[in-house]
């Protein structure tokens, strides 16, 4: 197998402007419409992404979409969990092992997990939002003693749509972090909680001055969850959310991800609530 990058590339890492070719080495069907791909570089690797950052993944002949990394990998491997919601993501989800995918990145701001050392950490994930947060959980578990209480709250539409279900169960079983899961709609076999994620926060013991919160999920869920944690006395600066917008370049030039004064790809996607909370109450900003 040969690849040729016809332009001279930086010897260390791939150019962020032109996709670097990567090959799919494993493929896991997580739910009916979500797939996790593991990628290895065919030529120059990109710089190692941090939890919260994203890459522009390129499906040959179809186009590019921004996808957050869903795990921190060793070496030059990348792991991305993609939900098939449009032509490009569908093409990515349909990739077989051996397929070539282009990667540009890493872009955007990260969750800043290290800054929460010595504090309680509350991680709240809604739906596909668990994918960008999984690297955070990995980091928290890896350096468990550096953090105080760690709680993960997971919300999903139905039990079948809980992402990384087996892994979530293993985190719960490990008892190293507190895990609570809830679904919008139960199935007969579901013996867990039913209801919206903010309700789970009610039952979490919170020490407002020493808690950092990280939330990812649909925007409505971000707003209601943030409102709930703020009502418990946590400062807006200590609540971080990951936002999503139409991104076509990932590098602050196409203008599509503008959100009032910020560019989500460059000033985000991870923002402190103090920055974007007031903007999110504006309709159609």
């Amino acid at each position: 197998m040969s690849t040729a990058l016809a332009h001279p590339a930086d010897t260390r890492v791939a150019d962020a402007m032109v996709p670097a070719p990567y090959r799919v080495t494993s493929r896991v069907q997580e739910t009916a419409d979500t797939v996790t791909l593991t990628l290895v570089p065919l030529a120059q690797p990109i710089a190692p992404p941090l939890a919260g950052q994203f890459n522009m993944l390129y499906a040959f002949g179809v186009g590019e979409v921004p996808i957050s990394i869903s795990a921190i990998e060793t070496g030059d491997r990348l792991r991305h969990t993609v939900r098939a919601v449009g032509a490009i993501s569908q093409a990515l989800c349909a990739s077989e092992i051996g397929a070539v995918i282009g990667v540009r990145g890493p872009f955007g701001t990260d969750w800043g997990v290290a800054s929460a050392m010595g504090r309680d950490v509350l991680v709240v994930a809604g739906g596909i939002g668990l994918a960008p947060l999984r690297p955070v959980v990995h980091e928290l578990l890896h350096s468990r003693r550096q953090f105080r209480r760690v709680t993960l709250l997971v919300g999903a539409r139905t039990p079948e749509e809980i992402l990384f279900r087996g892994e979530v169960a293993s985190w719960e079983a490990s008892a190293r972090i507190t895990v609570r899961t809830t679904v919008d709609t139960a199935t007969p076999a579901w013996k867990g909680e039913v209801g919206v994620v903010p309700k789970l926060i009610d039952r979490v013991a919170i020490d407002p001055e020493f808690t950092t919160v990280m939330i990812c999920g649909p925007e409505i869920m971000l707003r209601f969850t943030a409102a709930e944690v703020l009502s418990r006395g946590i400062a807006a600066e200590q609540v971080r959310v990951s936002m999503e917008r139409n991104m076509q370049c990932g590098i602050g030039r196409c203008g599509h991800c503008q959100f009032g004064p910020v560019l989500v790809c460059t000033h985000g996607p991870v923002f402190p609530w103090s920055r974007v909370g007031p903007l999110l109450t504006r309709r159609e900003l």
Binding site: G126, G195, I220
Partner: protein
């Protein structure tokens, strides 16, 4: 050993009631326990009490012909179970079952209802609190109706 009055005065639902009302309400309360899978409320039956869950998980469900008991909500520590005791026709609108061992305080709804008829202030205070519970539960249902996790969901 804590009295019922002690327990409910610490709880956010009753905690800020005036002393006289608190004592009256406590007087209508008693400690109860439910075993796993024990039915607590049955849809259609007279609603004469309500519960303050102290520990354990309760599933609210609706018996749907052909689908069995469809769980529509779950409650746990600190949640209030049941508001139909306060509003005519005083009948339960759903089933409630203990998911595991449940410890709760049961309140005599008939006694409280009667007292509220003559004590408007108590009636107002209780109605106010239950209205807030209903509001929160309604918001939760509305959010689920939005189906925010769905692929083509409005945002």
């Amino acid at each position: 050993m804590k009295t019922i009055a002690d327990l409910i005065s610490e709880h956010k639902f009753f905690g800020d009631l005036d002393q006289q009302s608190l004592e009256f309400v406590a007087g209508c309360g008693s400690n109860v326990h439910f075993a796993p899978e024990q039915r607590i409320l049955t849809e259609g039956e007279p609603a004469n009490d309500f519960y303050l869950i102290r520990s354990g998980s309760v599933a609210l469900s609706f018996p749907v012909p052909g689908r069995g008991a469809v769980v529509i909500d779950t409650l746990g520590d600190g949640d209030v179970l049941g508001w139909s005791w306060l509003f005519p026709p005083y009948r339960w609108q759903f089933d409630a079952e203990a998911r595991e061992d449940v410890a709760a305080i049961a309140f005599d709804g008939v006694c409280l209802r009667t007292k509220c008829d003559s004590d408007a202030r108590l009636g107002y205070l209780l109605t106010q609190r239950f209205a807030r519970v209903i509001l929160e539960r309604l918001q939760s249902v509305r959010m689920r109706m939005l189906d925010v996790y769905g692929a083509g969901a409005p945002r």
